[in-house]
């Protein structure tokens, strides 16, 4: 493995199912060590792209390299470098929790005596030791999510691919999983994440690609995406009921109800916010409270993915 190579390099990936094009010429680079978010609405091609990376589906066209290893020609090395936590639980119902990890390690060519200690460490780390000898059908949804992550890590991959890793888990566990992922990334594991929880991507990912209709519509740093959409919504509570607002351009489009004291203005830049407040005070109002709503990743996402 060469760290100079990107963790994932996708070039011209196409996947067609008959007339349907699920992935339409995606090219993508994820640098080693990155925490990368791959976002998009349902049916955008996220899981299909992941399937192509890990070899769960046959590409129609294009090439994929994992740390410089081609997934078709050097598939054994490439697969050893990847850990996958898929969206749906797909555990082997005949195995105990401990055996799920031991057998997955075995499929990756690791002997039980070599991996035994790591299995116990992962069970401990993901708080599954007490359930080690029960079948997966007898553990909770949150424990299954943790087991998915433990299984993906058992062969010490350099790239962790997570397809909706926190789907259906409560807030507490979600925050716990976020922390685990941060630690893993800090340890040098590249993380490629898809999620529908945009605050999750905003909190965790350094770089993001947004995909729609099988094509990438935006790809840059999370901060860059947010900075490109700096517009703010201003909400001002005034000292008395509003009859009308001053006819200044910056307040054009302001939202208020006659007789109420709240006025909201969308899409302001920082200097326009100051002008709006000044205009209100000039009109004799006293500003009692001010609130700003900055654009979130959700706003950016909706803007980019709405047709």
């Amino acid at each position: 493995m060469t760290l100079a190579n990107p963790a994932i390099a996708i070039d011209g990936l196409y996947k067609r199912y008959g007339e349907l094009t699920a992935v339409d010429g995606i090219s993508l680079r994820v640098e080693a060590g990155d925490f990368f978010g791959f976002l998009g609405p349902n049916g955008a091609g996220k899981t299909t792209t992941i399937g192509a990376i890990v070899g769960l589906l046959r590409k129609t066209a294009g090439s994929i390299q994992i740390f410089g290893y081609d997934i078709d020609r050097q598939w054994r090395v490439a697969r050893r470098l990847v850990g996958l936590a898929p969206q749906e639980f797909n555990f082997d119902r005949y195995l105990s929790i401990r055996d799920v990890l031991l057998f997955q390690a075995g499929y990756f060519g690791l002997r039980p005596r070599v991996v035994c200690r790591r299995v116990d460490e992962l069970l401990e780390r993901f708080d599954l030791t007490a359930k080690a000898h029960v079948e997966y059908t007898k553990i909770s949804g949150g424990q299954k999510r943790r087991l998915m992550l433990a299984r993906a890590l058992i062969h010490e991959p350099k790239l962790l691919i997570l397809d909706e890793p926190t789907a259906g888990v409560d807030v507490e566990l979600r925050l716990e999983l976020w922390e685990m992922l941060r630690v893993l990334n800090a340890q040098g594991i590249t993380i490629f994440l898809t999620t529908h929880y945009l605050e999750e991507a905003e909190a965790l990912c350094r770089n993001i690609a947004i995909v729609r209709g099988g094509k990438i519509v935006a790809q840059q740093s999370t901060q860059g995406l947010l900075d490109g959409h700096r517009e703010t919504t201003l909400a001002v509570r005034l000292d008395r009921p509003i009859r009308e607002l001053p006819a200044t351009p910056v307040l054009r489009g302001a939202r208020f109800e006659v007789g109420d004291t709240l006025v909201q203005v969308d899409g302001l830049t920082a200097s326009q916010v100051a002008s709006a407040l000044a205009a209100l005070e000039a009109a004799g109002f006293i500003v009692e409270a001010v609130d700003f709503k900055r654009a979130t990743l959700q706003d950016v996402f909706l803007e980019l993915t709405r047709s």
Partner: protein
């Protein structure tokens, strides 16, 4: 890097053996009990009225046929249900994302199936010795036919496990093809007991070759030359194995 993932291959075999042990009441004891019933009802009760067949008592004649019957059923059932369940539950993805080649995956399933089939064959062989005092005379032939038959039917199990869209489809091959062919293929009758027309018809039944060759390992006698039967079963096993390998390698109903 290594060219064969031996640990991965062995892990697949081990997983299949664990699966067999987890459902032992469905897959090991029923064929043993069924065999015992056949031995007592057909072999001992009815067979006592039949003169010797191929130089042995009818009960002794039955044992190799019954072993074949259960080995065929076990081999096909093991791989077909395991593959289908893996597809249905998506757990087969654990294998598909691992550094395992199609050959390693198929070999793992076939060897896992062989383990189940040999366990059943072994138990019936011991029971045959205890109950009707018969043992193979030619162990090499006994083992050789068992292995080839198991490869043939476990490969067929993989093919049908991949093709099936629902569990019901798996039963189609057993109910409408394998079971009838096994029952008319010489489990209960020697070819010499049949009228000439049916005897010639048997030559189109592949199961007939397996039972005829396997029984020769017990009685030392066969209707067809053993080489012909072995060649026929071997050829079928190679075709089935090749087809199963090709289907797994191309990801047929495994990789979208």
């Amino acid at each position: 890097m290594d060219t064969v993932n031996y640990v991965g291959l062995w892990t697949v075999v081990k997983r299949e053996i664990i699966r067999t042990l987890k459902v032992i009441n469905q897959v090991i004891w029923p064929p043993i009990i069924t065999t015992l019933l056949y031995v007592f009802i057909f072999g001992v009760a009815i067979g006592s009225r039949i003169q010797s067949v191929q130089g042995v008592t009818y009960a002794q004649f039955l044992i190799p046929g019954l072993i074949m019957l259960q080995v065929i059923d076990a081999s096909y059932g093991e791989t077909s249900s395991s593959i289908f369940q893996g597809r249905f539950m998506n757990s087969i993805q654990e294998l598909l994302i691992a550094p395992l080649s199609a050959t390693e995956i198929v070999a793992g399933f076939v060897l896992g199936s062989l383990a189940r089939a040999l366990a059943i064959a072994g138990i019936i062989t011991v029971l045959g010795f205890i109950l009707v005092h018969t043992l193979p005379q030619n162990w090499l032939l006994y083992a050789g036919v068992l292995v080839v038959v198991c490869v043939l039917f476990s490969a067929l199990g993989i093919i049908f496990g991949l093709m099936a869209e629902k569990f019901d489809h798996l039963a189609v091959l057993t109910t409408f093809i394998i079971t009838p062919l096994v029952f008319v293929g010489g489990v209960f009758t020697a070819a010499t007991m049949l009228p000439p027309f049916l005897r010639n018809l048997e030559l189109f039944n592949p199961i007939f070759y397996t039972i005829d060759a396997f029984r020769a390992s017990y009685t030392g006698q066969s209707y067809l030359p053993i080489g012909v039967s072995l060649a026929a079963i071997g050829a079928l096993a190679l075709i089935a194995l090749g087809t199963a390998l090709r289907m797994v390698a191309t990801g047929y109903k495994l990789r979208a």
